[in-house]
């Protein structure tokens, strides 16, 4: 049988036996390359898949291990922090109204304990920031200079922390007033006092920062 391939068209160049042989060998090389590719590509894909997975797992293991190695340190640090009882720095009350009431109670108690006279107490708008709520109140009172020092000291050195601002102290006697022995003139005092309370994770209802209570004494 005499076989020539292909017979038509551009195959005129393959008329010579050498060209036919070269074409057949080229086709053989192509077929061999295809066979090698058909074997090598799945093997390469499989290796790459396992290699990627192993690399990723090793990286994860390193990361998790280094994090887990911190665990004893973290646990001890947490216990050390918990021992400081940071909650005692905050006024109690899940809502702004409750926290404000607590704040007012504390202030009232401190003023009266130290012989001051509370004139009025009014809650101001509270402010929430970074999971902490600042409850504010304006206090008006009268006290002598010595009692004022004691009241301020009591407020600023106790827990929960109280912060004073916008203080006004006004003498109610004229300059050069000489009191009788054992008598201290009273002064008019007004200040803003604020305390911090922890905001509950799920607040039941926003109060839009409006004052929630007003106490007059």
């Amino acid at each position: 049988m005499s076989a020539t391939w292909p017979q038509t068209g551009s195959s005129q160049r393959l008329r010579t036996p050498a060209a036919q042989r070269a074409a057949a060998l080229g086709a053989l090389l192509l077929a061999a390359a295809l066979v090698i590719a058909a074997l090598a590509l799945p093997a390469w894909w499989l290796y790459d898949r396992y290699d990627s997975a192993a690399t990723q797992l090793a990286r994860q293991l390193r990361s998790y291990t280094s994090l887990n190695q911190l665990r004893p340190t973290l646990t001890q640090a947490l216990e050390a922090l918990k021992a400081k009882e940071s909650r005692k720095f905050f006024v109690k009350g899940a809502s702004a109204a409750l926290a404000g009431a607590d704040l007012q109670d504390i202030v009232k108690s401190l003023i009266e304990t130290n012989n001051g006279r509370l004139l009025s107490s009014q809650l101001l708008a509270h402010k929430d920031d970074s999971g902490v709520r600042q409850v504010n109140a304006t206090i008006q009172m009268t006290a002598s200079i010595q009692n004022l020092r004691q009241i301020l000291h009591a407020m600023e050195s106790r827990e929960p922390y109280l912060f004073l601002d916008n203080l006004t102290v006004r003498a109610q006697v004229p300059s050069g007033f000489k009191p009788q022995a054992g008598f201290e003139p009273e002064m008019f005092i007004q200040f803003d006092v604020s305390g911090l309370s922890l905001v509950a994770p799920v607040a039941p209802k926003p109060t839009n920062g409006k004052p929630t209570a007003k106490v007059k004494s």
Binding site: M1, A3, Y50, T73, V132
Partner: protein
């Protein structure tokens, strides 16, 4: 390249190329390609195999002379023999067929044998090859097929002698006088399979070993990586579960630390009012009478500087300038300025003043590394909580006045 195929004239006489393509029922174009390709490759590979693969020590060519005689070598036992038939024994005839019969040419030639020759298929060894393809004058595509015939009795006698002498005939070919090509006469069923020499067996074993090593070289890294993945999986899972617990502790630590930091930082930022009153009391001369004290943010304070506080003092003193000088020496106060015109006081030798002084910003104390306090040293700073790990020391409690 011309390929001559022995025509199937015996039962089970399978052929290469043509019949394979027919059995696979591949499309005609592919069958044609396969015939061409296999024929070309055979013409290249067969000489190479003869030259480099065939063990010449175990193979011998024996010629079938024009007179029908064969000259046998002295020792033939166990050797592979190729019988080379002299062209004098060959009958040739060219027959024209329609090109459509090409796919089943072997069967067509066999069926047409008694019409074209006086012989039956049992009397001759028959081979055929396509000499030419062309379009006839009537427009029908046609092929010229050359029939190559050798009388079976001539070849059989020689084959019998060789086999009797112990030779194994693996091929019987016609030596073409005008070329190096040969025409195979023996159908596959009548050929004795060539035995492999020890060298060939060793070569085949080496090739097999090479392929096996390649397969191992490919498979071993894959299996190693797979084993690694299988081994790492449970460890990572356990480490992940531990890490989840660690992260919960870390989150709790950060939350508690943040609570602590917020309160203490705020405490440090604000100067205690009682300290300010104490400082003013300490610095003011005994002749000073304060009518009013106000502590508030100075007018026009921006939001970025909302911690700035100003103390405004109204009262009477012997010397305003002396008082400003004393206030400027304070560790708590700075930038003391006069806010209103100085007038005569209600008391003799006094001045009524209105001054304002700013509170100095408080320097935060050095942070304490909470993690450093713990006994276990820190392993990886990167994964440690950053801001939460350092805290302010607790504020000191002032003694009661």
């Amino acid at each position: 390249m011309s390929v001559v195929i022995p025509t199937s004239n015996g039962a089970g006489n399978g052929q290469h190329g043509h019949s394979v393509a027919t059995r696979l029922a591949v499309p005609r174009v592919l069958a044609h390609f396969w015939r061409w390709w296999s024929g070309e490759l055979c013409s290249v590979i067969t000489p190479l195999m003869d030259r480099y693969w065939v063990d010449r020590h175990g193979t011998i060519d024996i010629a079938l002379m024009p007179d029908g005689a064969v000259v046998l070598p002295p020792r033939l036992n166990g050797r592979d023999v190729r019988l080379i038939v002299d062209a004098a024994h060959v009958l040739r005839k060219t027959v024209a067929y329609p090109a459509a019969v090409e796919e089943n040419l072997a069967d067509v030639v066999l069926n047409d044998l008694d019409r074209q020759t006086p012989f039956t298929s049992e009397q001759i060894y028959l081979a055929h090859r396509i000499e030419r393809r062309y379009d006839a004058a009537d427009g029908v595509a046609r092929i010229d097929v050359e029939l190559v015939m050798v009388m079976r009795r001539v070849v059989s006698a020689a084959l019998t002698r060789i086999r009797d002498a112990g030779g194994a005939v693996y091929s019987a070919v016609i030596a073409e006088p005008d070329s190096a090509a040969t025409t195979e006469l023996l159908p596959v069923a009548e050929r004795t399979r060539r035995r492999m020499s020890r060298l060939q067996q060793m070569n085949l074993a080496l090739v097999g070993a090479l392929l096996l090593l390649i397969a191992i070289a490919i498979a071993v890294p894959i299996l190693q990586r797979r084993a690694e993945v299988v081994e790492l999986g449970p460890r990572v899972e356990k480490a992940r579960n531990d890490a989840e617990a660690t992260r919960k502790i870390e989150a709790e630590f950060q939350r508690v630390s943040q609570e602590y930091q917020l309160a203490t930082a705020r405490k440090y930022q604000s100067t205690p009012v009682v300290d300010i009153i104490e400082e003013l009391t300490r610095l003011s001369p005994d002749t000073t009478w304060l009518q009013s004290l106000e502590l508030r943010a100075p007018p026009g304070t921006s939001k970025s500087n909302k911690s700035l506080r100003e103390v405004q003092l109204i009262g009477e003193a012997a010397s305003l300038s002396k008082m400003i000088e004393l206030l400027e020496q304070s560790a708590l106060l700075q930038n003391t300025t006069q806010r209103a015109q100085t007038t005569r006081g209600t008391q003799p030798n006094t001045e009524r003043f209105q001054i304002a002084t700013e509170l100095k910003p408080r320097a935060a104390p050095e942070l304490i590394d909470v993690l450093a306090i713990a006994v276990v040293p820190r392993v990886d700073k990167l994964t440690a909580p950053n801001d939460a790990s350092t805290i302010l020391p607790p504020p000191r409690t002032r003694e009661a006045p």
